[in-house]
Structures are given as structure tokens and as C-alpha cells.
């Protein structure tokens, strides 16, 4: 997280830590973790932890280890042999089914899925929150969970990021309506290692603060500018269908 600050897991109890690759995910149910497709691409048995602010090995002993039963990558995700050459992050969403149910508590609880009404269409200016153990301005990986608030901006903001590094040509990347662009003016952004984590917005229909997952950390042209998030609302039907067809007790 760029431009963020230390956060307790109690503030982002849905945050799931992926050890390899170093990434994030969002707990959406007792048996399901939502993440980015590129996180689990080529890794059908990701090891995950929930409920820990710190991801030092010693602290992970106290966290809940989540064992994958099966990984469902969105069928629209384009598989590639050389992931480093990927320029198409469309449909960057995946579900990980867990072997055992997650025990909920103050440090572990799921994030809501967006409703199907238009009220859950993320709009430019909506302020969301991200979290993760990804790269910061100072470190390649964070040991302490970081959180940040950042607004949704027009997709064009992401498209117009001026490249600082010669090897990133933003214009050559694919932008679709399945992506949300968000970023703070003060360099608030997600970064490498935050992938798959939730971009949450406050539920417009709840008086008490309640959040839903509007996006998943997907990719970005350059950390500290704007980032692209998978627009979860576009995948609610796929998510629900996948979960129903593979719920425990179903063959």
C-alpha cells in the first residue's frame, strides 16, 4: 500500500493473506475467498491465512490457516504462459473454495458482496478502502497490515498515467468496463503484493457502517499513482453461481 498507514486486522477482518505469491484476498463466506485471477493463476493450492495483522511466520501460527479445496478462475480470464508479458487483466477475478469453514470472530469476518441494484455501481468520487501487506514506499513487502482510503476516479485517469519507467507502456494495456480506477491525489495506491485484496465501499443502504467489496486489487501502471481494480459487481452472478454449485453437500 502506498500512502497508507498501519491497520489492525480488526479493521479489515476480511483480509486474507496469500503467502505464495505474496498477495491478498477477501473472505466472502465460511468456505470462500475472493481474489484476483492472476494471484492463483498456476497455483491450485494456495496457502492462506486469516485473522492476523502481522504476517511474520511466528504470528501466522496464531492465525487461521486456510486450505484450498479448489480454485475457480473466471472463464473470461486469459491464460498466458509468460505472466510477465500480460497486458490484459480483464476478468481478473477468482474464487478459492476452502476445505474447512472459517471460524468467524473479531479478527476474521467476511466482506459483503455488492447488491445487484444500481446503488452498488461504484461511482467516481466514492471513497473506498484498501488493505494489504504489499509493497510500500519503503519496503518491498509489509509485515504489518496497511490500510488506506482512496477515491474512485475516471478510468481515463488510469489510462493517462505517464510512464516513468521505460518498460511500462500504459497505452498498450487493455482497459475494460470490468475495471475500476481509483487512486489518491497524495499517492495513495495499492501496489505489488496487494493483489486480490478488497477495495471496499460503504453500503449505501445501511445506517451503521457496513462495507461491501466493490473491487479487487488487480494491476496498475505505476505504484503511487492510480490503480485498477476488478469491478466485482459485474461478477456477482458468476460468484453466486459458482458458490451455489460447489457449496458443501453438493456433488
Amino acid at each position: 500500500i502506498f500512502g497508507g498507514s498501519d491497520a489492525k486486522i480488526q479493521s479489515f477482518p476480511w483480509q486474507v493473506f496469500f503467502k505464495n505469491p505474496w498477495a491478498g484476498g477477501a473472505l466472502i463466506g465460511e468456505h470462500w475467498v475472493l481474489t484476483a485471477a492472476h494471484v492463483v493463476e498456476g497455483n491450485q493450492q494456495p496457502l492462506m491465512y486469516a485473522g492476523s495483522t502481522l504476517v511474520r511466520t511466528s504470528h501466522l501460527d496464531d492465525a487461521q490457516m486456510l486450505v484450498a479445496e479448489r480454485v475457480f478462475i473466471h472463464p473470461g480470464w486469459e491464460p498466458l504462459d509468460d505472466v510477465d508479458k500480460r497486458k490484459n487483466f480483464d476478468n481478473d477475478i477468482a474464487l478459492v473454495q476452502l476445505k474447512d469453514p472459517v471460524e468467524m470472530g473479531p479478527t476474521v469476518s467476511p466482506i459483503c458482496l455488492p447488491g445487484t441494484s444500481s446503488e452498488y455501481n461504484p461511482s467516481v468520487g466514492d471513497l473506498g478502502m484498501i488493505s494489504g501487506w504489499g509493497r510500500t514506499e519503503k519496503r518491498d513487502r509489509a509485515i504489518h497490515l496497511k490500510g488506506a482510503k482512496l477515491p474512485i476516479v475516471p478510468l481515463s485517469n488510469c489510462q493517462q498515467v505517464k510512464k516513468k519507467k521505460s518498460n511500462v507502456d500504459v497505452e498498450s494495456y487493455i482497459f475494460t468496463d470490468n475495471m475500476i480506477c481509483a487512486g489518491g491525489e497524495k499517492g495513495v495506491d495499492s501496489c505489488k503484493g496487494d493483489s486480490g485484496g478488497a477495495f471496499v465501499l460503504q453500503d449505501p443502504n445501511e445506517k451503521n457502517p457496513k462495507f461491501y467489496v466493490a473491487g479487487l486489487v488487480s494491476w496498475g501502471p505505476e505504484c503511487g499513482t492510480y490503480g485498477l481494480y476488478t469491478r466485482v459487481k459485474n461478477y456477482v452472478d458468476w460468484i453466486m453461481k459458482t458458490m451455489q454449485e460447489n457449496s458443501p453437500g453438493k456433488d
Binding site: Q10, S11, P13, E30, G105, S109, P110
Partner: protein
């Protein structure tokens, strides 16, 4: 050894008998015979009551006669001067002389012969109940037609036993009814009905059996025996028992015993089998179909449990069962009862619990709750479940389906506060 005849002579006969002698003869003829003892000569000193010299004839300790003096025949064609006949087969003759004879007496000459005894007439007690037939050396009894001679060979009875009545309704009468019943008989009848029926007896009013003696004992009697119960003995003019005798048994033995005397018209009875009743038992929690004031053998009832109760057979619960009135007056399946439905301990649910209900019987209420604030009840409804008649805990909305506690989403336990940078 018994002999058929013999001679007895006084000492020295026909010479004078000596003084101071006493001699006895024990005469015995074969059994069944009497003795004819006759004297052809008697010449014994005469004295008052034959106190000095005498010949004494005794039988069984009883003196049959005592002779003295001189006797002559009253019948010129017969040599017999004195004779005795006894119906017994033993006789004792004793001759005695004292010391004072001054004259010459020649004594006596006597002969005996076995004679036939007419046992039918010679004795005071009648040896046969009906017909007596004498023959030489004995007698035999015989009976009128339809009578038979008992094993004692003296008494006649009627062969009236052995009848077994199996019809549900029937009539039985004493032998010869309404004419006089036979004496000296024992009639045993049996009424044998199917199990499950009790025999009820009604004796006709014209009952006429030799009345009881002064001690209240019936010389002739009618007795009913049913299992361990006995009704009677009954006797007298007019039936002294109840109008209807409910024996409580499907087997009845009727015994009619008569003695040698005192005959009467006898009796006649009607019997019928009455199905054994089964008690109508307490119907708490249940309804009997069909509803009757009285249930009897072979009746079948369906016992349906009222709502909220059930009958448990083994591990299976049902709402009704059938019961049959049995031959012993008891209901089958009597061990089965309608009992309040017990829903048992409410099933546990994940991430929630059911409060312990005060009771788990029909109508009791329990409430499920989820582990708040991290889980909530997914389904609508209060979480209240009531023990229903089918043995399940039932919710108004979900029915018997258990509530589901699902995670609360999107609510951090601590809000994220961004630190100012």
C-alpha cells in the same frame, strides 16, 4: 375244615353221659351257607332254665337255644325232636353236666347240614339297591333297564355322565326329567365353550331335588364347578341359587349326585355363552373407535392419540394402534399408551445454540440464537421453535428446518482510522 354236614353226639352216647363234663363243638360250613342243626335225641337232666345239665347252641356270641329234659318228635313221620337254623356259617354247640346226677341220662344226638342262605331276605339290611338274586351259597344284585350296576356290585345307577356340550346355547336336564330322577347316581356333564366366552346358567323354577336334612346337607345335590369356583350344592323344592349364575369361565362341570332314597322331579337348566367383557380403560390422550359402552371378546378398537401425544413401539412413534379384546378379558397391546410427544433435546446448530427448554414435551418452546455479533440468523423468523405433534421442533416460518447462522459481513470490529501522514 368246613364241611357240608356232620354228626354231634354227647359223651358216651347212647350210654349215660358222665358227671361234670363240658364239651364244645365248633361247627363250620362253607361261606355263603347257613347251618341247619337238628336233634334226633335229647335226654338231659331237666332243671329250671337248664341250669344243671344242658346243651347250648350259640352263633356269633348269641345264644340260639339251650336244651335239657327229654324231647319227642311232634311229627310221627320225622325223627327230629328239636331244630335250629342260622343264616351264618358258624355255630357252637356246648354240652355241660354237673356232679349231681342221680338218674341215668343218655345225652343227645344231633346232626347238622349246610343249608342255603337267602341273602336277599334273611338279613335285615337289603344287600342290593334294586334287584336281589339268591343262589346256593351266595347272591347277586341286578338293575332295572337303563341302570347299571356300580363297581360295588350292590348299587345300581344310571349311566348319565360324559355328555359334553359345546354349543353356545343349550339345555341340560336331570335323567328322566320331568319324571323322577334315578337314585344312587352321579351324573357329570361338561359345558365346553370357546375361550373368550363365559358360561351363564339359568336353572328353571321347577327345580325339585330331595331337600336338605336337618344339618343342611343335601342328600341329592346339583353342583356347578367352574375353574376354582364352585356353585352349590343346591337341593330342595325350588332352586335356591341366583337366577343367573355367571361362572366367569368357558368350562363348566355340572355334577348331579343322588343317594339311595328320596327321589324328585329333578331339574332343567338353560345355559348360554356370554363373550368375556374387556374393561374400557382410561382414555387420557386418546380416542377409541368405535365408541361403545361395553366391549367384549373379539371387539377391535382403534386407539388414536390426541394431537400432541403418540404411542411409541420400540423406537417408532405412531399416532394410533389397534387393540383386540382377548379371551382372557384383557386388551392386546395393553402395554401401549398414548403419551405426550417428546421432541427431545433440540438439535445443535453451528455457530448458534438452542436455549434449554423447561420441557421437551409437546407445546414446549425453545429459542435458537446465533453467536452474535459475528453470526446472524440467515432465515426470517424469531428463532422460536415449538414442539409439534409429529415430534419435531417447528418454527412458524421454517417449519422443522433448523435455523442457519451465517457470518455477518462487512462490519469491522474496529473502524479503520487513517493516521495523518
Amino acid at each position: 375244615e368246613p364241611t357240608m354236614y356232620g354228626e354231634i353226639l354227647s359223651p358216651n352216647y347212647p350210654q349215660a353221659y358222665p358227671n361234670e363234663v363240658e364239651k364244645s363243638w365248633n361247627i363250620e360250613v362253607p361261606e355263603g351257607y347257613g347251618i341247619h342243626l337238628y336233634f334226633t335225641h335229647v335226654d338231659i337232666e331237666l332243671s329250671e332254665n337248664c341250669a344243671y345239665d344242658s346243651v347250648q347252641i350259640t352263633s356269633g356270641g348269641v345264644e340260639e337255644g339251650r336244651l335239657c329234659g327229654q324231647r319227642t318228635s311232634k311229627n310221627p313221620n320225622s325223627p327230629i325232636v328239636e331244630e335250629f337254623q342260622v343264616p351264618y356259617n358258624q355255630l357252637q354247640v356246648t354240652f355241660k353236666s354237673d356232679f349231681s346226677n342221680e338218674e341215668r341220662f343218655t345225652g343227645f344226638a344231633a346232626y347238622y347240614a349246610a343249608i342255603d342262605v337267602n341273602e336277599c331276605t334273611d338279613f335285615a339290611d337289603a344287600p342290593c339297591s334294586h334287584f336281589c338274586n339268591n343262589f346256593i351259597g351266595g347272591y347277586f344284585c341286578s338293575c332295572p333297564p337303563e341302570y347299571f350296576l356300580h363297581a360295588d356290585m350292590r348299587n345300581c345307577g344310571v349311566n348319565c355322565s360324559g355328555d359334553v356340550f359345546t354349543a353356545l346355547i343349550g339345555e341340560i336336564a336331570s335323567p328322566n326329567y320331568p319324571n323322577e330322577y334315578p337314585e344312587n347316581s352321579r351324573c357329570e356333564y361338561q359345558v365346553l365353550l370357546e375361550e373368550g366366552f363365559q358360561i351363564v346358567v339359568t336353572v328353571q323354577r321347577d327345580f325339585d331335588v330331595e331337600p336338605a336334612d336337618s344339618d343342611g346337607n343335601c342328600p341329592d345335590s346339583l353342583v356347578f364347578v367352574a375353574g376354582d369356583q364352585q356353585f352349590g350344592p343346591y337341593c330342595g323344592n325350588g332352586f335356591p341359587g341366583p337366577p343367573n349364575i355367571e361362572t366367569g369361565s368357558n368350562v363348566l362341570v355340572i355334577i348331579f349326585q343322588t343317594d339311595l332314597t328320596g327321589q324328585g322331579k329333578g331339574w332343567k337348566l338353560r345355559y348360554h355363552g356370554e363373550p368375556i367383557p374387556c374393561p374400557k380403560e382410561d382414555t387420557a390422550n386418546s380416542v377409541w373407535e368405535p365408541e361403545k359402552a361395553k366391549y367384549v371378546f373379539k371387539d377391535v378398537v382403534k386407539i388414536s392419540c390426541l394431537e400432541g401425544s403418540e404411542v411409541v413401539e420400540g423406537s417408532v412413534g405412531s399416532t394410533s394402534f389397534y387393540s383386540t379384546c382377548q379371551s382372557n378379558g384383557k386388551w392386546s397391546n395393553s402395554e401401549l399408551k398414548c403419551q405426550p410427544v417428546d421432541c427431545g433435546t433440540p438439535e445443535p446448530i453451528q455457530h448458534g445454540k438452542a436455549e434449554d427448554p423447561e420441557s421437551t414435551l409437546f407445546g414446549s418452546v425453545t429459542r435458537y440464537t446465533c453467536e452474535e455479533p459475528y453470526y446472524y440468523m440467515e432465515n426470517e423468523g424469531s428463532g422460536e421453535y415449538r414442539c409439534a405433534g409429529n415430534g419435531s421442533w417447528v418454527n412458524e416460518v421454517l417449519g422443522a428446518e433448523l435455523p442457519k447462522c451465517v457470518p455477518v459481513c462487512g462490519v469491522p470490529s474496529e473502524p479503520f482510522k487513517e493516521k495523518q501522514r
